[in-house]
């Protein structure tokens, strides 16, 4: 699972300004949510293909979060297909209502979630932690008027993103260790499967907080106090490529809203 891990490659997407990447992501998310026609979906798939191609990231890395959640997508699809209330059901019994609208709704929900996950993954895979922190800090600047310490907030959010793959890795290790001690996580009953995760929670929290403690000690030992006192070089101006990317995403967003 590569969510949150930066993969350094020399690509157009990697070279884009991180602030512009976040703004573009927001425009594309609005476009995805607004999509309701087949042409709209086709356009979104084309845009996604171009982004992945331009990013030069391996398809395996980009699609890894989706592979992990395939069961979730199947469940979501069938829940929509069988429980979506429709005026013209193909088959209806008790609370179950199987309809064409339900199938379409299921496909729409699964598609939207997949696209959002891929876009979020491309952003984190193609943006270095430092760039992400600076971008968040820059985009959150208006909150300074409300006396919000935006530099600290940006630093916390960035560290949180970096923590995700680490915690996922540790969770897997803890799960394997518990399995070796005789715990069962592969129950076919979904309720039992959910409840089997509970004994993992305390070890996951302890190991995550231990990691956090080590990191905070290392930061304090190096003289870090808070992000506000940090200095940085002069702001990086936007380039033609950055503005073009945001403009393209904005146009896609507008087209999707009005299609």
């Amino acid at each position: 699972m590569l969510i949150g891990k930066f993969v350094p490659i020399n690509s157009i997407i990697h070279r884009l300004d991180a602030r512009m990447k976040i703004v573009s992501l927001i425009f594309l998310l609005v476009a995805v949510i607004s999509t309701s026609t087949v042409y709209g979906y086709a356009a979104i798939i084309m845009v996604l293909t171009v982004i992945i191609w331009l990013s030069k990231l391996s398809l395996f890395a980009v699609l890894s979060p989706i592979r992990r959640l395939w069961l979730f997508f199947i469940v979501i699809f069938f829940m929509n297909a069988f429980f979506f209330s429709s005026d013209n059901p193909l088959f209806s019994w008790w609370i179950i209502s199987f309809s064409g609208e339900g199938i379409r709704q299921g496909i729409k929900v699964v598609f939207n979630v997949c696209v959002v996950m891929i876009l979020g993954n491309v952003l984190t895979l193609s943006t270095s932690p430092i760039d992400m922190t600076n971008a968040l800090s820059s985009l959150l600047t208006p909150l300074k008027l409300l006396r919000v310490p935006v530099e600290d907030v940006a630093m916390i959010i960035n560290i949180a993103i970096q923590f995700v793959p680490t915690i996922l890795e540790e969770s897997n290790m803890i799960r394997k260790a518990q399995t070796a001690r005789g715990a069962h996580f592969e129950s076919r009953k979904l309720r039992e499967k959910a409840l089997s995760f509970l004994p993992l929670l305390i070890p996951i929290f302890i190991s995550s907080f231990r990691r956090a403690d080590e990191l905070s000690l290392a930061m304090e030992a190096r003289g870090y106090r808070n992000a506000k006192r940090r200095t940085k070089k002069a702001g990086v101006p936007f380039r033609v490529l950055d503005v073009t990317a945001v403009a393209a995403c904005f146009v896609i967003c507008i087209i999707q809203i009005y299609i």
């Binding site: 969510i3 949150g4 992501l25 998310l29 949510i33 979060p65 992990r68 959640l69 069961l71 979730f72 469940v75 829940m79 929900v109 939207n112 979630v113 997949c114 959002v116 996950m117 979020g120 952003l123 984190t124 600290d152 907030v153 630093m155 916390i156 959010i157 560290i159 949180a160 993103i161 923590f163 995700v164 680490t166 915690i167 996922l168 969770s171 979904l190 309720r191 499967k193 959910a194 995760f197 509970l198 993992l200 929670l201 305390i202 996951i204 929290f205 302890i206 995550s208 907080f209 231990r210 990691r211 956090a212 403690d213 990191l215 905070s216 930061m219 304090e220 870090y224 106090r225 808070n226």
Partner: protein, 185 residues
């Protein structure tokens, strides 16, 4: 009481936000596991309990936002109401832990937790009724979604959260709320 440094609180908050993304992923394979087991609530409440209200509030706002951006869950339609709800939980647990001091850690934890969970649900219900689902929200929907469906999650939180706080204290990752006196040895 020894206080945690600002840097340590910040990094613990980052860990809690990361857990807001990781924990729901484990429950995604189970239908209706989110509204039933409330996996994202646990790190938010925990952050409020151990780091204080500003950090709890940040976890409540940033946790669902980042989770939605990286994993698509919660869906964007539910994101604002969920951010408000979790923001209230983080804020209220932190505030309650600041003001409630009974000299007994368990009592402090339970009073803060239960009060934050009840007031948070009331405020989240009001915000849904007035802003997010104005005109379509009813008392029955509020009771069902916040108490009936979420009952397993509420029980898990009440049992698990004080245990996690004690486990963290025992592992010396957070300072004791009431340090043991010489007479206690």
């Amino acid at each position: 009481m020894e206080k945690m440094s600002y840097v340590k609180c910040s990094i613990f908050t980052a860990a809690c936000i990361a857990l807001c993304i990781v924990l729901p992923m484990a429950f995604h394979a189970v239908p209706m596991a989110g509204p039933r087991f409330l996996p994202m609530h646990i790190p938010v409440l925990l952050c409020g309990l151990i780091c204080g209200w500003p950090f709890g509030l940040l976890t409540g706002l940033a946790g669902p936002l980042l989770s939605s951006l990286l994993t698509g869950m919660p869906p964007q339609a539910f994101l604002p109401s969920m951010m408000v709800e979790l923001g209230f939980y983080g804020l209220l647990t932190g505030l309650m832990m600041q003001f409630v001091r009974t000299k007994k850690v368990y009592l402090d934890l339970y009073i803060s937790l239960v009060t934050a969970m009840v007031i948070g649900r009331i405020l989240a219900g009001i915000s849904r009724a007035l802003i997010f689902s104005a005109g379509e929200y009813s008392m029955a929907v509020w009771t069902t979604s916040f108490f009936v469906t979420a009952l397993p999650g509420i029980i898990i939180q009440i049992i698990l959260l004080p245990s996690i706080v004690f486990a963290l204290e025992a592992a010396r990752l957070i300072p004791r709320r009431y340090p043991k006196g010489l007479n206690d040895k």
